[in-house]
């Protein structure tokens, strides 16, 4: 059975994950801010899964797209219209536009060259945001965002209840869209390019155009994640373009399992929870816990945590 074929088991897993997200709201009413950050990060890691997990595009610059969405949505809210859904659309367009323009050039190269260039794009954008103080607030961050109620009905509250449901709704919508996309002919073509660009060209696929399209869609989703973050925290700082964000997103994806949407979500939830708990337990050595976890997964379950049941099953049969 193909790893990403949509079937009954993934559907059950997805339903359980959604139920867990709903339960978390009631179980941890004082951690809604943290839980909302997890949901937003899930959207970003899903965008990376499309680009890297499915498309095989080696990137360490997903923050370029996330940050573009964050600043675009923040500026739109401050200067134009503080409606959340319109802001999401603006963030998606900004992320897609940056992905399209940078991807048009970047996606002519592969491997390490592409990796380095993707980092460079994010660094350049960070410097631009830093220098454009008058517009972005520079190192102080973009402040003064005050969002309208979602759909004019649900006002953002101090505890973060609205923010949580809002972020969850966006995550579910993004997940459903990517689920459809990855099962479509286009999704299969993107996986084909990951497997063999030479064979894809030799069956007549315009490989570069397909890659740019996939990267642009990934940019739109990353831009939505950035916009969500800007709206929920009502602040955009230069860190949205940071290398650390791109790298963490990549680690979360590898941890959960690349090329599977559920893997992106599981990896993000596990990484951020371990980080949260370990940092609270031992503020000085918490990185050790993350490092040990990632090493263990890479060595023992290369398919990621989402491949753990299958790996344990194989282990059981061997005995």
């Amino acid at each position: 059975m193909s790893a990403v074929a949509p079937g009954r088991v993934p559907l059950l897993l997805e339903a359980l994950m959604l139920a867990a997200a709903v339960a978390a709201f009631f179980l941890f009413p004082y951690s809604l801010g943290f839980l909302t950050r997890i949901l937003i990060m899930c959207v970003l890691v899903l965008s990376l899964d499309l680009v890297l997990g499915y498309g095989g595009i080696a990137t360490l610059g997903q923050a370029a797209l996330y940050g573009s969405g964050a600043y675009a949505a923040g500026l739109f809210a401050v200067h134009v219209w503080p409606a959340p859904l319109a802001g999401l659309a603006v963030g998606a367009v900004a992320g897609a536009a940056v992905a399209f323009v940078s991807g048009w050039f970047l996606l002519r190269v592969r491997g390490l060259t592409l990796l380095m260039l993707s980092i460079a794009v994010a660094q350049v954008l960070q410097e631009v945001a830093n220098k454009a103080r008058g517009l972005t607030g520079g190192a102080d961050g973009l402040a003064g965002i005050a969002m309208d109620p979602v759909l004019g009905l649900f006002a953002f509250d101090f505890v973060g209840r609205t923010a949580y449901w809002y972020a969850l709704a966006v995550l579910v919508a993004v997940f459903a869209f990517l689920r459809m996309l990855t099962a479509s002919p286009f999704g299969l073509a993107v996986r084909g390019i990951h497997e063999s660009p030479a064979r894809m060209a030799a069956i007549g696929t315009p490989v570069h155009a397909r890659l740019v399209t996939a990267y642009t869609i990934g940019g739109a989703v990353a831009g939505i994640a950035g916009a969500l973050s800007a709206q929920v925290t009502e602040l955009v700082s230069l860190e949205v373009f940071g290398f650390a964000l791109s790298a963490e997103a990549l680690i979360m994806l590898i941890l959960g399992g690349t090329g599977r949407l559920t893997g992106a979500v599981v990896g993000t939830v596990v990484f951020m929870t371990v980080e949260h708990v370990a940092a609270a337990a031992d503020p000085f050595n918490w990185l050790f816990a993350i490092g040990a976890l990632v090493l263990a997964v890479v060595f023992f379950v290369p398919a990621g945590l989402i491949g753990l049941p299958a790996a344990l099953g194989r282990l059981g049969r061997r005995r």
Binding site: M1, S2, P6, M180, L181, A183, S184, P185, F186, G187, L188, A189, R191, G192, E195, S196, A198, R199, M200, A201, A202, I203, G204, T205, P206, V207, R210, T213
Partner: protein, 253 residues
């Protein structure tokens, strides 16, 4: 016969140089429908370069490539596939971690111009799935549709590549060393598959295996140093003293 009536592939005066090194020199070649032409020559003679020039993986330095009278020398590799020219590679080039079904599905969907679609399941078209099964059965791989390519023996992977290439419904097929790397016990499968290709398909075989070439080809072109040394029927080539001296060597006596 006017230009419009010319059918098949015509290569005229094709050249390709890398820096100062000429790897293709004034090559002329015709592949009308139904052709079974083999390109032979020692290592480094420029055989794979010629395959890459015809299929568009490489751009020629000069010369003409016409297909049904139309100049295709400047078309991209993907555009030439759409025009009807498909290939297999010297080293099997497939989607290794995808199933045989998914491999062929990509070829069929691409042939029908559907791989850009975001909606609908890739495997949701029964007509496409039936065609995939028929094509796998034709190369003796019925029942293996759900296996991943990497799980197959190399000779079987060769057959998958052939089935995938045929799924593009080409009119010209370039086979770059189809028997290379295939264990001798499996090479008869490749030979049977090539012998069973449609009669109207033009086939260019680049091959080291002389037995295979002499059994399958009706025209043999000998390439040395990037240029055509001679060409003729298998009987003519086998009798040519220069070919025997330059290429076949003492081993073939």
């Amino acid at each position: 016969m006017t230009a419009l009536e010319v059918r098949g592939l015509e290569v005229r005066g094709l050249n390709r140089a890398f820096g100062g090194i000429t790897v293709a020199r004034d090559i002329d070649l015709d592949l009308p429908p139904g052709a079974r032409t083999a390109l032979i020559g020692p290592n480094g003679a420029g055989k794979s370069t010629f395959a890459n020039l015809v299929t568009g993986a490489l751009a020629p330095s000069s010369g003409e490539i016409r297909f049904d009278g139309r100049d295709i020398g400047r078309l991209s590799e993907a555009q030439r596939v759409k025009a009807g020219i498909a290939r297999t590679f010297q080293i099997t080039t497939l989607f290794r971690r995808l199933t045989l079904r998914e491999n062929l599905r990509l070829a069929v969907l691409e042939r029908e111009g559907r791989t850009g679609r975001w909606f609908g399941r890739a495997g949701g078209d029964e007509r496409v799935e039936a065609e995939i099964e028929a094509r796998l059965a034709a190369v003796g791989l019925a029942g293996r549709a759900e296996a991943r390519v990497e799980e197959l023996a190399y000779g079987q992977q060769r057959l998958v590549e052939l089935a995938l290439t045929l799924a593009l419904r080409p009119r010209v097929l370039v086979l770059d060393e189809p028997a290379a790397g295939v264990p001798s016990g499996e090479s008869h499968l490749i030979e049977e598959a090539i012998a069973g290709l449609p009669d109207d398909l033009a086939v260019l075989i680049i091959e080291h295996d002389m037995d295979l070439v002499f059994r399958l080809a009706r025209v043999i072109v000998v390439l040395v140093g990037g240029a055509v040394l001679t060409r003729g029927t298998p009987a003519e080539i086998a009798a040519d003293p220069e070919v025997r001296r330059l290429y076949l060597g003492a081993g073939h006596g």
